[in-house]
């Protein structure tokens, strides 16, 4: 069946989407918001996104890939924002396998090998 991508923005939409795919492997990439020209305020996210996208073909069948924009820079800097509080995110970009402790944070997302390991290994 292959895999599907869902693009969401903000915490409530992320949670709703993840819950709707309960039972399937869910991978999520969290990035800073993009401006009208499509550039993120987060330079590491700009670097990571193409690297992550290049490995998406390795996703196991039935997976869901959620591409989530977290908010603007001010929202992200707030130490109490919902992503930090509830998902324990510490930085953007973060690439994770939902419901497991498996995640890659910031520069770890630049390494294709690690992204592939996250997507393909248990």
């Amino acid at each position: 069946m292959g895999w599907v991508e869902m693009q969401v923005r903000g915490y409530p939409e992320f949670v709703r989407t993840a819950q709707s795919y309960h039972g399937r492997p869910i991978f999520a990439l969290f990035c800073g918001d993009k401006d009208a020209e499509g550039r993120s305020w987060c330079p590491d996210c700009v670097t990571a996104e193409p690297i992550v996208r290049k490995e998406l073909h390795n996703l196991p069948d039935e997976s869901v890939f959620i591409y989530c924009l977290v908010g603007d820079r001010a929202y992200w800097k707030d130490p109490n924002n919902e992503f930090r509080r509830n998902l324990k995110l510490t930085g953007v970009p973060t690439l994770l396998k939902y419901g497991t402790p498996q995640k890659l944070v910031e520069e770890e997302c630049f390494k294709a090998e690690l992204v592939r390991m996250l997507f393909t290994e248990d």
């Binding site: 402790p101 995640k103 690690l114």
Partner: protein, 494 residues
């Protein structure tokens, strides 16, 4: 005629993979480490720093109850880490009780939820397993979740959980396979009992528990289970904490007994039967006295065996390549450079004969060994004066000789023991025991009253002991200790 020149025939041609240092044609790896625990991972990561081509094989054979775990070895998965976290859970329970005396008011009675604690602990362990996999991949160490066995010189067979076998050849090997809990060898032991391998991920509260054994594993587990509010009994064959200072061991036992842990002394189980299935069910234990003709019976929800650990050295093909092991214990004797009887095979960690079974020892041995192999270093692992701590409800930190061993080695007239009870300030207000905490040092009179043994029984014993271990390594004498002004008000000032 023209002779075709095959690539393998060219002595100058070597394999280069991933930009790493080329290895001789006949080897796939410079180093293969068997066992991805504390020692194995430390050694592998160190070797990768010197750009060696390294592989780690790690495989967990499931327990009789079906428990298994990820990369990281005993300490991370079923040892030090979950143990300390659960010990902390128990201490927090005690702190909640104490807090009322300090003015905290809460109306409900406080209860403990086993599942909440276990899930949090397992989650943390999961993040460690993942962290190790990222670290290995990042440093280009190849990791395979496969069971390694020697099949011939320089050759190992790796079998993964699907049964697929692969052969690998390496210039050198490090065996770091660690140990697993021993079973009693009585009817019902494997079917109904659990071990520390199962306890930390048990998907239900163990309930009324019988802990068989008197090792630090037994006492630590009994201690935190009781601290969490469970009915705990410890069945001891003879003495507590064999190998540790017996004066301190007895004080630990007394404290535990006063604080709700039942002890059945000088008995061993002979039969375990299931009375009722369930999670937990009910088990009937039959035990016999070791000193007289007496049989007793008892019923428990859970029976936890903690009677010792055996090295994983019997089924890894050591006989095929001539690595000597102690046939009785399974331990591997090595020289002071961790080399086995086969020069290109080394061993580190709990499987070593006559060496301390501690994570930091394995890590240190692994790192220094690799530096000697690949970085021209000469430092050997110093196994003397290694500090340790037992995380029983009353914690015990020690470094150096026990009183008995010091007397044996130096003679009673040549050692002086200084000791003191102390009452932690934090225990005064909640009226906790005022005569249980204790500290003693053992000095060698003939060597300037050098401190050769340090023992402390009290809260945060591990934190207290670490600094003293460094001082002992520097040759601390009683006079120097006396002239060191204390920090007040802390336990360590005693």
């Amino acid at each position: 005629s023209v002779q075709a020149h095959k690539e393998e025939d060219d002595p100058q041609k070597t394999m280069e993979v991933n930009g790493l240092t080329p290895v001789p044609d006949s080897y796939d790896y410079d180093l293969i480490v068997i066992g991805g625990g504390s020692g194995g991972l430390a050694a592998a990561k160190e070797a990768a720093k010197y750009e060696k081509k390294v592989m780690v094989l790690d495989f967990v054979t499931p327990t009789p109850q079906g428990s298994s775990w990820g990369l990281g070895g005993t300490c991370v998965n079923v040892g030090c880490i979950p143990k300390k976290l659960m010990h902390q859970a128990a201490l927090l329970g005690q702190a909640l009780q104490d807090s009322r005396k300090f003015g905290w008011q809460f109306t409900e009675d406080v209860k403990h939820n086993w599942m909440t604690m276990t899930e949090s602990v397992q989650n943390y362990i999961g993040s460690l397993n993942w962290g190790y996999r990222v670290a290995l991949r990042d440093t280009k160490v190849t990791y395979e979740n496969a069971y390694g066995e020697f099949v011939g010189p320089h050759t190992i067979k790796a079998t993964n959980k699907k049964g697929i076998e692969k052969l690998y050849r390496a210039e050198r090997f490090i065996i770091a396979t660690g140990e697993r809990p021993r079973y009693l060898g009585i009817p019902g032991d494997k079917e109904y009992c659990i071990s520390s391998d199962d306890l930390f991920s048990l998907p239900y509260c163990p309930g009324k528990t019988l802990v068989v054994g008197a090792s630090y594993v037994a006492l630590e587990c009994a201690g935190f289970l009781a601290g969490l509010g469970l009915d705990v009994t410890v069945m001891v064959r003879s003495i507590l904490l064999r190998g540790f200072d017996q004066d301190m061991a007895n004080k630990i036992g007394e404290y535990m007994e006063e604080h709700g842990v039942n002890f059945i002394r000088e008995f061993v189980p002979i039969k375990i039967e299931q009375v009722e299935e369930g999670t937990p069910g009910i088990l009937k234990v039959t035990a016999k006295s070791t000193t007289r003709d007496q049989i007793i019976e008892g019923q428990y929800n859970t029976v936890l065996l903690a009677i010792g650990r055996d090295p994983c050295t019997r089924k890894i093909g050591l006989d095929k390549i001539g690595v000597n092991i102690n046939e009785k214990t399974g331990k591997i004797p090595v020289n002071d450079e961790e080399q086995t009887s086969v020069p290109y095979i080394y061993a580190i960690g709990d499987i070593l004969q006559d060496k301390l079974e501690l994570t930091p020892v394995a890590i240190q041995a692994g790192r220094l060994l690799v530096r000697r192999l690949y970085a021209g270093a000469t430092t050997k692992c110093d196994y003397v004066n290694v500090p340790t701590t037992v995380f029983t409800p009353l914690e015990y930190g020690a470094c150096g000789y026990s009183e008995e061993t010091a007397v044996e080695k130096f003679g009673e007239e040549n050692i002086e023991v200084y000791h003191s009870h102390f009452w932690p300030l934090e225990w005064t207000v909640p009226s906790r025991d005022n005569n249980r905490c204790y500290a003693k040092i053992i000095c060698n009179i003939q060597d300037n009253e050098r401190v050769i043994g340090f023992h402390v029984l009290g809260p945060n014993a591990g934190e207290v002991t670490q600094g003293f271990a460094a001082a002992i390594k520097c040759g601390l004498t009683k006079e120097q200790l006396d002239s060191t002004i204390g920090i007040h008000p802390v336990c360590a000032e005693v």
